[in-house]
């Protein structure tokens, strides 16, 4: 197989990985701090995509419409996350994690019907925004400009989260809280509010990634279930709650899938879960994760 073909397949995997990272980073972040596995993260992503479509269709601004819609839907999803945290999760922190898990599972069901009711289950599409409509040539082979945009956004989000977690005071608290909750609250830092804002941030990321996914593919009912299991694979392989882990997990899943499609298309999907199971068997807490005490 010639080198340029391999390179192209590699780049396809990178694009897939970038989109997965966008979604999974929010999931990983909330898990790292709140220790809540948010099943409904995929539903917030789907809601973000549908919202982005509706706002875009309403604005009718050819050049800026999509970007504005993306920002707005991310913010709206942040507000939704605020409500979910305040009225739902906050009341469940003193209960077992299975109940928290089930509560977020209930949200999947509710949001599915919300979308069904509001958008009627139609599949929708947003054209790719300017200036990312065409292709860019890499080694004489076209590469969709929008994929580059997604990769760039994924990288930007990674840098932002890295800065937030490792270079700010909030980040110190986040990392400390992931280690030892009691210790942080003993220092006088209000844990509940930390949780709220982290969950809001996670929801903003979900909304943002949903909006970005809208011009990438199509917006349709069922995209929530589709993405969430793959996101689990990403965060589990990399290590739940670990930012570099999520980055690595997204890269691995993207590449395994991309080259799986090339050589053994019928098994590509199984490969992902095999990798996931192998990692879990050898290092249950993931490549970059820490064992739970």
């Amino acid at each position: 197989m010639s080198l340029d073909v391999l390179f192209n397949q590699f780049m396809s995997g990178i694009a897939r990985g970038a989109l997965l990272f966008l979604v999974a980073s929010g999931l990983s972040l909330t898990f790292g701090v709140l220790r809540v596995l948010n099943f409904s993260h995929g539903s917030l992503y789907m809601l973000g995509a549908f919202l982005c479509y509706s706002i875009w269709a309403h604005l009718l601004l050819p050049a800026l419409g999509f970007y504005l819609a993306t920002i707005l839907s991310a913010l709206i999803m942040g507000a939704a996350g605020l409500l979910i945290e305040l009225f739902l999760l906050r009341r469940l922190y003193n209960r077992g994690w299975p109940e928290q898990l089930l509560a977020t599972y209930a949200l999947i069901l509710i949001i599915t019907d919300l979308v069904k009711w509001r958008w009627g289950g139609e599949f929708l599409s947003i054209p790719r925004p300017k200036p990312f409509t065409g292709a860019i040539f890499l080694f004489d082979f076209p590469f969709p400009a929008y994929n580059l945009f997604v990769i760039g956004l994924g990288a930007a989000l990674a840098v932002f989260l890295w800065w937030l977690v490792y270079r700010t005071r909030l980040g110190d608290i986040i990392r400390a809280a992931a280690h030892d909750r009691e210790m942080v609250s003993a220092l006088g830092i209000p844990i509940p509010w930390l949780f709220t804002w982290i969950f809001v941030l996670g929801s903003v990321i979900a909304g943002l990634s949903g909006a970005v996914a809208a011009p990438f593919g199509s917006v349709a009912l069922g995209m929530d279930i589709e993405i969430i299991v793959e996101c689990f694979a990403v965060v589990v392989i990399g290590g739940m709650g670990s930012l570099p882990g999520t980055l690595l997990g997204a890269f691995v899943v993207g590449q395994v899938y991309s080259f799986g499609i090339m050589y053994k298309p019928e098994l590509a999907l199984a490969f992902i879960f095999m990798v996931m199971a192998i990692v879990l068997i050898i290092r249950p807490w993931g490549i970059f994760g820490r064992p739970e005490r």
């Binding site: 599972y105 209930a106 069901l109 019907d113 739940m240 879990l280």
Partner: protein, 323 residues
């Protein structure tokens, strides 16, 4: 002593009587729902052996349920195998795969256990789904008929009822045996149990295999009941059903999963009769139970009863209770 036992178990007898008389009272459609609820109750009880008694949440239990169904379906349709032996084979296959999967899973705790079971469940789902030539892929397998004697809905219902009663009896014996006490002790305090020289992993593995085999039995019962199986039966969404049923009914009580399953199954059948907005109703129902009835319906009721009888023993309580 004997009378005391009767007092405790009057509702069991009542349930048995209702179960036996049901086909003569309710219509065929509701009889079928009842049969479905009984099968799913076995599934939920198997799940709760791990969750309620061992303290581990499995999110991949549907894989064993589906494997049981697939084994029966393939033996019956491809090899025209004996029905009873197929059922046994379904239990065995689920149990053996449970042994392999469980070997890796029982080393983990809490959410990591849940996720590893989810990963294995999805892996098995993808294998069944993608292995088109062997399993029929997405179409599943149709035409899975029970033997002539069990073809009529009433006879198959009685068959389910007997298997259900036997499973309940077996599980009841298990959780009230020394083995069951060790499981509970491990849930409460794993370090101390280990200290007592008990090999936690081996006990948990035994429980895991038991739950897998019982889930396989439920799937094996379902396939001839509705004449088909599909890969969906192994998917994580299906694994969520016993989780929901158990937490709704109450995981700390033996019959909680049964109560939860019955509520879910009948409510689902009823709601789909007039709207397709079932998920939002189910979702709200879950939230209501989680917030208003902590511990699940049966768990909450038991808690309240215990509080009341406790109050009745104290002087103020007795005063209140006096006419």
């Amino acid at each position: 002593m004997q009378a005391g036992w009767l007092k405790q178990a009057w509702w069991l007898i009542l349930a048995a009587v209702v179960g036996i008389l049901a086909p003569h009272i309710i219509s065929e459609f509701y009889l079928m729902i009842l049969g479905e609820a009984l099968i799913m109750s076995i599934f939920a009880l198997a799940f709760n052996l791990l969750f309620g008694y061992m303290g581990q949440l499995s999110f991949g239990q549907a894989a064993f349920y589906g494997l049981g169904g697939y084994t029966v379906a393939m033996l019956l349709t491809k090899l025209q195998f004996n029905f009873w032996l197929s059922l046994v084979a379904g239990i065995l296959v689920a149990g053996i795969v449970g042994l392999i999967v469980g070997y890796f899973c029982v080393k983990l705790r809490g959410i990591y256990f849940a996720i590893l079971t989810l990963a294995f469940g999805q892996l098995l789902f993808v294998i069944i789904y993608k292995w088109h030539d062997f399993t029929g892929g997405d179409d599943g397998i149709q035409g899975v008929f029970p033997p002539e004697a069990l073809k009529a809905p009433i006879s198959y219902y009685y068959f389910i009822l007997i298997v259900f009663a036997a499973s309940v009896y077996l599980l009841w014996k298990v959780v009230n045996s020394p083995f069951g006490y060790v499981l509970k002790a491990m849930r409460e305090n794993p370090e101390r149990t280990e200290f007592l020289g008990i090999n936690i992993a081996r006990y948990q593995l035994m429980a895991f295999v038991m739950a897998a085999a019982l889930s396989g039995l439920a799937g094996a019962l379902w396939a001839p009941f509705y004449r088909s199986v599909a890969p969906f039966h192994l998917m994580w969404v299906k694994s969520g059903e016993p989780v929901m049923a158990t937490i709704l009914g109450g995981s700390t009580t033996f019959f909680g999963p049964v109560v939860g399953t019955f509520l879910m199954t009948f409510l689902h059948a009823y709601v789909l009769g007039f709207t397709y907005f079932w998920p939002v109703i189910m979702g709200s129902f879950i939230l209501v139970v989680i917030f208003l009835l902590p511990g699940g319906i049966l768990g909450f009721a038991q808690e309240k009863l215990r509080e009341r009888s406790f109050k009745a023993m104290t002087p103020e309580g007795r005063d209140q209770d006096a006419p």
